[in-house]
């Protein structure tokens, strides 16, 4: 027996010794990561003997490029590697975006060679982590990679020495298009830089404009059921209540259908009336204070309304587990009447299979309800923001080339190409001289797919309302919803895209956020479905528990970040 014990001990020691040796000695690839690896001179460009005045240069790496007559940067055929999730539509046709026509054109125009690293769909996070841990970083990271998958987002990425700070390279000479398009728009002035004054939004996609930002979500109801109640289109919450009750009396089982995709929450559909966000932080009336919707007193009124509707059977009971497809099928069957949903799904799930074949089942757009007639909205969730950020890593040998390439995204012609594709293959011109995207069906040829657009590279989503409402989305887009969204105010929306957090703040958020969200979601459903009775005291208990879960600290963090934003 003793011998066996000795044996076990001996072997364990031996193996742990081996382990130690191996792991300390062979600690793989954690070399020094100094932030400007591009100190060494590269073959990117030995400055020509006679330098033109308008040559674009960067002393640290010795790069030098020129522009051609149209103003496109000529990047001398350097190879740039880009990490970017691939869109689902193209997964079967291409293994890399470099095979698509629009990218080929881009490479040709700018004389650059692009290589893409695409993570498998659905596994972006793991792929990203493994890429960062390895020692071969790409030159650029697209599609919000850092914000979505790096702990602490871009602030931390800069601090950890992952990203290249190109603030100094942003200038009228290097990035004229970027400055014209984004930096000059007052709505975004503060959002261009982060709290440290670094410009980190080169290449970012801009949505919406002062004149017409849109939202592709809408509240709509079946026209015939509305007419059967004999009422006008509802405006206030009370109108809604009366209408839903009347519909139920007419035989619609669950007049309001909502589902697990939670657009009724995230789009502030009904909470807007109470002046709060249903799910999130928002800016209060004074345009300075940050509050959290589910923590506010008005949340009690909001919950009472929703729970009253649920108790009277006006809302479908399985909404938490339901998906879009079921929602639309219930409406098609007459089990439901109203829903708030993404117009993107409305078309394939309802308009094409049902409404276009049977006009009696047509849907009509309804505005979000207000509390009292004449109230205005502040919390419309629109697409007015910037996103789809692009980053340059420190390991790149050609930082100037990256900067110039990102700037070229804002060129009108290139941008048109990314949004629409190659003429004839990706889009066709309509009679009104707008490009209409060719729909992708099972019969679309490979050639057509190769020539189609790449919307993750789009830099500006359309804000020309005429075009949006007529040619681009004319079929089954519920024009009324789009028009409604345009008219509303989004001044109360906070938008995480504006904020930067310090590392302590990030840590606090990561410690407490999940607990808080879990509790919030749980209690919201319990109150609405009536499993927990909604009374003054139970709501107070709920607020107290939120406070114990560090609600106030988290609000304070957002407040501090917003204040810093205002002071930029």
């Amino acid at each position: 027996m003793k011998r066996n014990k000795c044996l076990v001990l001996f072997t364990t020691c031996l193996l742990s010794f081996c382990l130690l040796l191996v792991s300390c000695g062979g600690s793989p690839s954690e070399d020094s990561k100094d932030s400007n690896k591009g100190e060494k001179s590269t073959s990117a460009g030995s400055p020509p003997a006679s330098e033109k005045e308008d040559a674009l240069t960067y002393k640290k790496t010795g790069e030098s490029y020129t522009r051609d007559e149209q103003g496109y940067p000529q990047l001398k055929g350097v190879t740039l590697k880009i990490w970017m999730p691939i869109a689902k539509e193209y997964v079967d046709v291409v293994t890399t975006y470099a095979e698509m026509d629009v990218v080929k054109k881009w490479m040709e125009t700018c004389d650059v060679n692009l290589k893409f690293a695409h993570p498998p769909l659905g596994q972006e996070a793991a792929n990203f982590a493994v890429m960062i841990a390895g020692d071969e970083l790409p030159d650029m990271i697209f599609s919000n990679g850092i914000d979505d998958y790096y702990p602490g987002k871009s602030t931390m990425a800069y601090e950890d020495g992952l990203l290249f700070d190109y603030t100094k390279l942003v200038s009228k000479k290097n990035t004229p298009l970027f400055i014209k398009k984004v930096a000059d728009d007052p709505y975004f002035t503060r959002a261009i830089k982060d709290d440290e004054g670094r410009i980190n939004t080169l290449g970012v996609a801009v949505s919406g404009s002062e004149e017409s930002c849109t939202t592709m979500f809408g509240l709509m109801t079946r026209k015939d059921m509305l007419e059967a109640t004999g009422m006008d289109v509802p405006v206030t919450i009370d109108d809604w209540y009366q209408m839903l009750k009347a519909m139920k009396a007419n035989g619609v089982e669950y007049p309001l259908i909502i589902d697990g995709d939670n657009y009724w929450k995230t789009r502030n559909t009904f909470s807007n009336a109470y002046g709060i966000s249903a799910n999130d932080y928002y800016i209060k009336d004074d345009n300075k204070t940050i509050a959290y919707g589910p923590y506010e007193d008005a949340y009690y009124d909001y919950l009472s309304t929703m729970s009253k509707w649920y108790a009277e059977g006006l809302i479908n009971p399985d909404f938490m587990n339901q998906d879009q497809q079921q929602t639309w099928s219930m409406i098609a069957d007459g089990v439901g009447a109203c829903t708030v949903n993404h117009l993107y799904n409305y078309n394939p799930y309802y308009y094409m299979p049902v409404e276009s074949k049977d006009p009696s089942k047509a849907m009509v757009a309804v505005d979000f309800p207000v509390l009292k007639k004449g109230d205005t909205m502040r919390l419309m969730v629109t697409n007015r923001n910037i996103g789809n950020r692009k980053y340059i890593t420190v390991d790149t040998e050609y930082p100037l080339a990256c900067v110039l390439l990102l700037d070229s995204l804002y060129d009108d012609d290139l941008e048109f190409m990314f949004s629409n594709g190659i003429e004839g293959l990706g889009y066709t011109m309509s009679e009104n001289n707008y490009p209409v995207i060719n729909t992708i069906t099972a019969d679309t040829t490979d050639e057509e797919l190769l020539g189609s657009r790449i919307y993750p590279l789009e830099i500006e989503s359309d804000s020309d309302l005429d075009y949006l409402l007529t040619d681009k989305y004319c079929f089954g887009a519920q024009v009324g919803c789009v028009q409604f969204g345009v008219k509303q105010s989004y001044e109360g929306i906070l938008g995480e895209w504006r904020l930067n957090y310090t590392s302590e703040e990030s840590e606090t958020i990561s410690k407490y956020d999940t607990d808080l969200n879990t509790y919030r979601d749980e209690m919201m459903l319990k109150f609405i479905t009536g499993q927990e009775k909604l009374t003054e005291s139970s709501f107070d208990a709920y607020r107290k528990k939120m406070k114990d879960l560090k609600m106030e600290e988290l609000i304070a963090i957002r407040q501090a970040a917003y204040d810093r934003y205002l002071n930029r």
């Binding site: 044996l7 689902k88 596994q123 792929n127 390895g134 079921q326 919307y455």
Partner: protein, 298 residues
């Protein structure tokens, strides 16, 4: 299994048992039937249906047409067949060696090694450290990264070891007295007598290789052409529900194609599952052969 002897209670038992088995088969067949019905359905009709499918909603082969024309699908199939064949062979070889060595009695390092191997079932470095090791060896972006890491399942090793330990000792003794070394004992005596266990473990490894995707996901970042079938299937199942941010754009897909995606999912599951279902009946004959073990005279 008592044979021909019949009695009233025996017959009653047999009848009830048979009926019970029938019901069980029905209940367990249903999920696959559901998927089969879904795969043959018309996309538009299927989207309208809620509840338990009892037949295809309008017969249509569109789902299968779309699946058979997906290039990635066939690429994945080819890759998976290779990984299953080569991977199961490698796994079986190493597992047999390990199980045999750990089933022999009397040598010093046996117990500690056994403990250390079981230990690895519970503690591992995690995804990133393992990736870094595999990268250092140079397996990343090659087929070896799918074949080797994870090729030995400790669970299977334990099962096989148990089977080897049950071989009657005297057979092995007499062979070793006759001068046979361990290799000969393993291949001439132990393996032939363990056919049931070997068939079971082959099935386990085969099925797990067939459904494997994790290794490919982590270790093949730049080689989509080496992806197994399951990776493409998983990509097919990815839903795009979280569309916050900027891109709440209209997709270019038409309604029909969008609906077709659901039918494609079902068709893809059927097409990719049918081969592995055929493996078991093929191996079933080895389960009968194992009867010989118990009937050996001492």
């Amino acid at each position: 299994m008592s044979k021909i002897h019949g009695s009233k209670s025996e017959t009653a038992f047999r009848v009830i048992n048979g009926l019970f088995m029938f019901i069980l088969a029905g209940i367990t067949l249903y999920p696959l039937l559901y998927v089969v019905f879904g795969s043959f359905s018309d996309p538009a009709k299927l989207s309208r249906f809620r509840g338990a499918l009892l037949k295809p909603m309008g017969f249509s082969l569109k789902g299968y047409e779309a699946v058979f024309s997906m290039k990635n699908f066939w690429l994945g199939y080819r890759n998976t067949l290779f990984y299953v064949a080569a991977g199961t062979a490698i796994s079986m070889l190493l597992t047999i060696l390990g199980a045999y060595a750990l089933s022999v009695k009397g040598y010093m390092l046996k117990k500690p090694v056994m403990f250390l191997i079981v230990f690895t079932m519970y503690f591992s470095g995690g995804m990133i450290p393992t990736y870094l090791v595999v990268k250092q060896i140079g397996f990343v972006d090659t087929i070896w990264s799918v074949l080797i890491p994870g090729c030995i399942s400790v669970y299977n090793l334990i099962v096989l070891r148990s089977s080897f330990q049950s071989i009657p000792r005297n057979l092995i003794e007499s062979a070793s007295i006759d001068g046979a070394g361990h290799i000969r004992i393993l291949f001439r005596i132990v393996l032939p007598l363990s056919s049931a266990a070997l068939a079971t473990i082959t099935l386990f490894y085969g099925a797990s290789r067939w459904g494997a995707w994790y290794s490919a996901m982590v270790y093949l970042p730049n080689r989509r052409d080496l992806y197994p079938l399951q990776m493409f299937l998983r990509e097919l199942m990815v839903t795009e529900n979280n569309m916050d941010a900027v891109a709440d754009e209209f997709s270019t897909e038409s309604a029909n194609f969008y609906l077709l995606k659901n039918v494609i999912k079902y068709a893809a599951v059927i097409v990719s599952t049918v081969p592995i279902l055929c493996l078991y009946p093929f191996l079933q004959k080895y389960f009968i052969k194992g009867v010989l073990v118990g009937s050996l005279k001492e």
